[in-house]
Symmetry: C2
DNA sequence: ATGTTAATTAACACAAGCGTTAATTACAAA
DNA sequence: TTTGTAATTAACGCTTGTGTTAATTAACAT
């Protein structure tokens, strides 16, 4: 089975909290690898690899400027995730899961008082 | 870093095309493991494990009935993905990526004729 | 030239993911 | 009770992911 399709790469890239944190930071504006690495309790090479994963998934871009690599967010894969998720909107709007039925029941009880 | 948070589990579960296919099939209605496994060129135990991954991520539920396990979609994690993605809507609505700038340029050229 | 800074690559260790076949559990039906 | 069906677990192998430290590349600055 093909596990190298773009959507799989995107979901896979987003499956690590450090990479989502990097993305969140970049949403506020592009910056360099060292700045991105600073808040993490992790070595620089580790962060560098996370960035590479994001780049290979097309979620970010790196442009060289002297010895710096400025990273910026690339929106397309996020849109793909959004549209994939939209496909399930009918389900999450109509169908209540177990927890929700439980919350509904609790709310009803509160209303009864 | 905590890699067992719910969102990571969800993205991780969605990162495999077989699991997304299983989810798509279940969106049409709950069914059993064997039925889910049928379209795949993969052994039953393999599919069983994919189902377990989806279940541990909270994306599906299994209810036992005799020797059958009926699987159904659970919407909550999908909503979480949607709302995580929404956070980046401003970016993907305003920011054009490289490919898009390229398409824009092409369109402009066409208009010029 | 030499040293400093930014970032990556190399080499390694260890855990997790994904697939297989064979064995096992749980239930139904004859 | 035996047989068949649904599904999981066991045991294994292989690949990928994630982190480390040490070494290396690339560019700037003195």
């Amino acid at each position: 089975m093909d596990r190298t399709d773009p959507l799989s790469a995107t979901f896979s890239a987003l499956a690590h909290p450090a990479r989502r944190a990097i993305l969140a930071r970049l949403a506020e504006g592009g910056t360099t690898v060292n700045v991105l690495a600073e808040p993490f309790d992790m070595s620089l090479p580790a962060v560098s690899r996370h960035i590479k994963v994001l780049e290979r998934a097309g979620l970010i871009q790196q442009e060289k400027n002297a010895q710096y690599r400025r990273c910026t967010v690339n929106a397309a894969p996020l849109r793909a995730v959004a549209s994939w998720t939209e496909q399930y909107r009918p389900i999450w709007e109509t169908r209540l899961d177990a927890m929700e039925r439980c919350l509904m029941a609790l709310t009803e009880n509160l209303d009864d008082r």
